[in-house]
Symmetry: C2
Subunit: 346 residues, 2 copies
């Protein structure tokens, strides 16, 4: 069994541990931002952590009303521009805490007087030392190059950040997430069987929107790095503005389709893709009974969740499918060619 699959299975426990142990940190952070409420939130990250940041972008902007910007690190590291972050909360997210460019952006922001927050899996990392406040993802060492448990851990912490900023995120809801992930993990045999269908898939598109937009990026990244599938990722709206032209009969599309605010938009896109004879697999749950209408395959989580709580459980079948597909293709997801666990870029 791959370490990736092992680490996917560790997520209920990892999430419960993170939530339990990081509550004191959340309370301290709440006091900090009550005194210094930011006017802007800047998220900085790379790779899978950047996908968690993309989730944070939606979560924080929707639930706090504070504008959010995803940092472009090169603006600091290559162009040496002094962007005015004095009234900002700058959040760096990194599994290893050693992502060079992410750390440089955080460090310069702190020197400018910004409130800085680090989210990392490594308590003794550079990031943990550089940031004024630190949240630890308590996922345990992540050994697979393909990040899974740190992604969901980072997302969980972003809910705590939103909560500390006064967002209507209920802790009781968060406490239900490990069980929802446990339920999602029961899809493993189904994902194992389904992976055979995609044995020879060379390219695909993944669609998501709003809270699940980041999951589209993360699933596509997993397909690229562990299965070497050329995977596009779009919001259902952006897909319609051009890229949908490349869809021909049998083109494989994966869609995150929770019930809620984004469903009408996702549904419209699925209808159009269906008319184009695309091959559609939707990831949904027990609440969205319409999601299967235009789909070739329905991956249905045995849970009933509010839309804003779907992202963590919904990524589980995607992680499982990527891990199983890598095995089907005879690849080792723990050691993708060309990659190492910590990537240093400026």
């Amino acid at each position: 069994m791959s370490r990736m699959l092992e680490e996917i299975r560790q997520q209920p426990e990892a999430l419960a541990r993170t939530l339990g142990r990081e509550m004191p940190s959340a309370r301290r952070f709440k006091k900090l931002v009550e005194k210094r409420r930011p006017k802007l939130i800047v998220l900085v990250a790379r790779g899978t952590s950047d996908n968690a940041a993309l989730f944070g972008r939606y979560l924080l902007e929707i639930t706090t009303g504070i504008p959010v910007s995803l940092a472009a690190p090169s603006i600091t590291t290559l162009y040496h521009a002094a962007v005015d972050y004095r009234e900002a909360l700058v959040v760096a997210i990194s599994q290893s805490g050693e992502s060079t460019d992410t750390n440089v952006v955080l460090e310069r922001a702190r020197r400018q007087g910004a409130l800085t927050l680090g989210i990392t899996n490594e308590s003794r990392s550079s990031l943990a030392k550089l940031a004024e406040h630190v949240f630890l993802v308590r996922a345990g060492k992540e050994r697979s190059v393909a990040a899974t448990k740190t992604y969901t851990g980072q997302m969980l912490i972003l809910y705590l950040v939103a909560h500390a900023l006064g967002a209507p995120v209920r802790l009781a809801d968060l406490e239900r997430l490990p069980a929802a992930v446990e339920a999602a993990l029961r899809l493993e045999p189904e994902m194992e069987a389904l992976s055979e269908r995609y044995r020879f898939m060379r390219h695909a598109a993944v669609v998501g929107r709003g809270f699940n937009y980041a999951n589209a990026f993360e699933f596509a990244l997993k397909l690229m790095e562990t299965c070497y599938v050329v995977a596009e990722r779009f919001s259902s709206a952006d897909f319609m503005h051009g890229p949908i032209a490349l869809v021909e009969p049998s083109f494989p599309v994966f869609a995150f389709a929770p019930p809620g605010a984004t469903w009408p938009s996702i549904s419209q896109t699925l209808q159009k893709l269906h008319a184009l004879h695309a091959e559609i697999a939707v990831i949904t749950d027990a609440r969205n009974t319409h999601a299967g209408t235009h789909a070739t395959r329905v991956i249905r989580l045995p849970v009933r969740l509010k839309e804003e709580l779907t992202p963590i459980p919904y990524v589980i079948p995607a992680q499982l499918l990527a891990a199983c597909l890598a095995s089907q293709k005879g690849l080792n997801p723990d050691h993708p060619r060309t990659l190492s666990k910590v990537t240093l870029t400026l």
Copy 2:
């Protein structure tokens, strides 16, 4: 000949006209922002206009130091969140001026008290009426579904916006752009010949960074919508954080490789891709004599420009190559399957 190719050729004239006629608007806008200097710039757009926005993101943040955020329209249109844009400059970019979600975001921001700016090719559009200040892209009617001249026109106007905000963007430099585009257009026979090489290309990756990052998105979008190529787009740094695993021998990569701040990063990526036996085509100019070292093909513009001025001329060979490749593939770039000129999404 396709309208797309016709409209590509119109760009020197269109850019010169836009620059000449929009100077009074730029002066009025300068006075406006001298009185109400924004603390945040929010850019909102879809499709090709969103790629222009991505260019604006780098240009404005680097040259003005004001933080920039690319809006996620669904946060307003689907989640109905009230993001605090009171101290922001909100810039909507739309060729037609009728992009529903873009207009909704701008309208709500204006009601909140934000300074609003519209950039459109259509003077009588909804956007031109909704925004407090308007810049017109004077490209003439764009008939091809594949946008080209409005993209470069939007980028040109973003330089004027930066200039009005006090950035060190010299108008004399902007006045040299139409001639640089004219020079780039002389690459047409070379792009016509080169397009044959890619006749059977099914997927590709486009790499860019900093000022040319948006061009990577725009070239990829053109390849998707006019040539039905599954085209990925990455910054050279993001590419290293996972996606590079999918590169196998002969995998086609296109890279924007100007001289300047991003060259060391792009160069490192090209070196790695070369070692993986990827097929690399670089777009560069007379100043970056090293750019060809790891490339299979070099597309060299006969110009010498400062890096911040390269994006408009550099996209020209990419547009030409997409238009020629569509013809090679027997496709009509003016009417891609599934698409219409104005896309309405919420």
